[in-house]
């Protein structure tokens, strides 16, 4: 009897999951794979034009597919250093301009969720969306009470599609060198995150959490939720004014403005990490709106991540012992983060400890030094990225660390585009003192 190879068995199982019909309707990744095979003739063209063309096509395709893959595109575009400039430009466009659902689809989706067509619910409702969100699109409307609101409506079938993609992903055997970084735990974490993000009621709760717990930052604006006009697929919140980063940068703001804004963004991040214990986990620039008065509006609370206690405690302890030369304490702090998974008994020779220390010492130069880090310099961004890279390569797969990495690199990319100089040590110290 011929023994079936493991790959064949897995492929067969993949086909079984959910049935073929669902697969046709519900896989974004499938479309992408198709696309990979289709572009072979294009490879003959010279590299630059190929890159530009494929970048554009990638964006067009991503826009057609919507949802999780678009999210992936956004995450990629945050990694400015890893991706050629042409592709980065196209991906940046993706962040702001996704194609709209046509009005018929949008109205049908709204009615299925809210029981009535939007124009019957609101005093005014703009059929043209003014923004694309990764899982939906946003319309301007006015409540019967006269409030200006943003109504986010989700594309249909997203949840099912995510489930399909992950079911498929699980059947794929990763090469051993990847498996080290992408554990089953991480895949589950990612899936849970995506699924949670598709429930707008969860996002409504996140917004309310920020409204209740983050009023200490005077420059931060958080929208209000209108529960009576919201459901799991429709989210109505107060309309926030302001401009996106790129629009703002086109007006050539002064260096002083850039520095101030950069400091505020950095403060917002460390405040979330050390004081709020929750992070607005979507670092792409489409989630921040800048107003003339220097305030920052945070929009899109789809994936707020609530940090576990040990991570927050560990982070505080790491910052405490960073410049004391106290490697034993630093090791204890790391132990808190990783719990019992690593042996830190010999701190001096531990590569994980060295990597973390090196990174943090670069990010937060020695106390007393008020000198700002110039994020506008490519070298700075490169160093920070490679230092993070080293951390990830030395430490065992850990969803929380991976998550923090994504957030911080996302933030640094924004600061880089902003060309901001930030006194990181001072800002961090100020926030942490306030918490104590």
């Amino acid at each position: 009897m011929v023994k079936r190879s493991q790959a064949t068995t897995k492929a067969r199982r993949a086909l079984k999951v959910g049935g073929l019909g669902v697969r046709i309707a519900g896989s974004y990744l499938g479309y992408q794979m198709q696309n990979l095979f289709l572009d072979t003739p294009a490879r003959a063209e010279n590299k630059a034009s190929f890159q530009q063309k494929s970048a554009q096509r990638v964006r067009e395709e991503l826009q057609q597919l919507r949802g999780p893959i678009m999210k992936l595109g956004q995450t990629l575009s945050m990694q400015g250093h890893l991706i050629p400039e042409e592709i980065l430009q196209e991906l940046t466009d993706l962040q702001m301009h996704a194609p709209p659902m046509h009005p018929t689809l949008m109205r049908t989706q709204f009615k299925k969720s809210m029981g009535e067509y939007p124009e019957a619910v609101f005093a005014r409702f703009d059929m043209e969306p003014f923004a694309a969100a990764s899982l939906g699109q946003v319309h301007f409307a006015m409540t019967p009470g006269g409030d200006e609101v943003a109504v986010k409506i989700q594309y249909p079938g997203i949840r099912e599609a995510i489930r399909n993609d992950f079911a498929l992903l699980r059947t794929v055997t990763l090469p051993a060198r990847w498996a080290k970084y992408v554990s089953e735990e991480m895949i589950s974490e990612a899936e849970k995150g995506f699924i949670l993000e598709t429930d707008y009621r969860n996002e409504a709760e996140n917004i309310e959490f920020f409204r209740t717990h983050a009023p200490e930052l005077p420059f931060l604006r958080v929208p209000a939720v209108f529960r009576e006009y919201s459901s799991d697929k429709v989210l109505t919140m107060s309309f926030m004014r302001g401009e996106f980063l790129d629009q703002r940068l086109e007006r050539k703001p002064s260096q002083e403005w850039r520095d101030r804004l950069g400091s505020r963004l950095f403060e917002l991040f460390v405040y979330q990490l050390y004081a709020l214990n929750a992070i607005h986990a979507d670092p792409h620039p489409g989630n921040y709106l800048y107003d003339d008065d220097g305030t920052i509006a945070l929009i899109d609370y789809g994936c707020v991540k609530y940090l576990p206690d040990n991570l927050v405690r560990g982070s505080h302890a790491m910052a405490d012992s960073l410049w004391e030369g106290n490697e034993v304490e630093f090791a204890e702090a790391l132990q808190a983060v990783f719990e019992s998974r690593i042996d830190f008994s010999d701190p001096r020779s531990n590569p994980i400890l060295q990597a973390f220390m090196e990174y943090l010492q670069f990010l937060m130069p020695k106390k007393g030094r008020k000198k700002a880090i110039d994020f506008g310099q490519g070298k700075v961004l490169e160093s920070l990225t490679s230092l993070w890279d080293k951390v990830l390569k030395t430490c065992p797969p850990n969803p929380e660390v991976f998550f923090l990495c994504r957030q911080e690199l996302g933030l640094f990319n924004v600061l880089h585009r902003l060309g901001a100089r930030v006194a990181t040590t001072e800002v961090t110290g100020r926030v942490r003192r306030a918490v104590r």
């Binding site: 019909g21 309707a25 046509h102 689809l105 049908t108 249909p156 079938g157």
Partner: protein
């Protein structure tokens, strides 16, 4: 390629069918009775299922003699055919009266039409499922090869052809001819079958399938093939 005048003439044939019978009190009464019977039957099908419902129960519910019922519909299958005919006509009328949908780009237009149809027939999902099963029997009048079904199908295809020709004239799609008509007709059947099996909340997956298939389809057609 048909000339515009021919097209105009044909459009009349599908779009004005319902108004053709307008004169005559008798005919009007007849239509009203048929509609009353259908309403009663659909209610019973919903409660007891298509197979278990008897003609006797239908006539009682519609408050007519069983013999009278027989004058209008020989069998339950005729009732089912009448149901699909009415729904098709409703879609056609709706399309020609809705200025927004008529002016919309082809994918949105087709989406609107199918969604309109599905929204209307949603309460009768089980009944439609039963009809599908029944249609598999070779001797059933609901069988795809029966004259009655063929006639209905032809009207549907003519309607699709009118829509596609409009799109071809507006250069939204390259000339597709009869192939496009049959492909869309088949696609519609596939969507309804998928819809019958769709257990997602609010049949959301069908909506997603429809939107993606139409978007992808028109994308491919506009580019004239897969080389994009």
């Amino acid at each position: 390629m048909p000339t515009p005048t021919k097209r105009q003439a044909r459009k009349k044939s599908t779009s004005s069918r319902s108004t053709k019978k307008a004169p005559g009190k008798r005919a009007k009464n007849k239509e009203q009775t048929k509609a009353r019977i259908l309403k009663a039957a659909l209610e019973l099908f919903g409660q007891k299922g298509f197979y278990k419902t008897t003609t006797k129960e239908i006539s009682r519910k519609a408050r007519i003699a069983e013999g009278t019922l027989f004058n209008y519909f020989k069998t339950k299958e005729d009732l089912a055919l009448y149901f699909f005919e009415t729904e098709l006509q409703n879609c056609i009328d709706w399309y020609y009266q809705d200025d927004y949908v008529r002016a919309a780009p082809l994918p949105e237009k087709l989406f609107g039409l199918v969604q309109h149809y599905l929204d209307r027939v949603e309460p009768y999902e089980e009944f439609i499922g039963a009809v599908y099963l029944r249609a598999l029997q070779p001797r059933s009048r609901l069988n795809p090869l029966s004259l009655e079904v063929q006639e209905l199908r032809l009207r549907e295809l003519m309607f699709i052809r009118d829509i596609l020709e409009e799109a071809e004239e507006r250069e939204e799609v390259p000339p597709l001819g009869e192939f496009g008509v049959y492909a869309l007709g088949l696609g519609f059947l596939a969507v309804v079958t998928y819809w019958l099996n769709d257990r997602s909340e609010g049949k959301e997956n069908t909506m997603a399938l429809l939107d993606r298939a139409l978007t992808l389809g028109s994308h491919v057609l506009r580019q004239g093939g897969w080389e994009w």
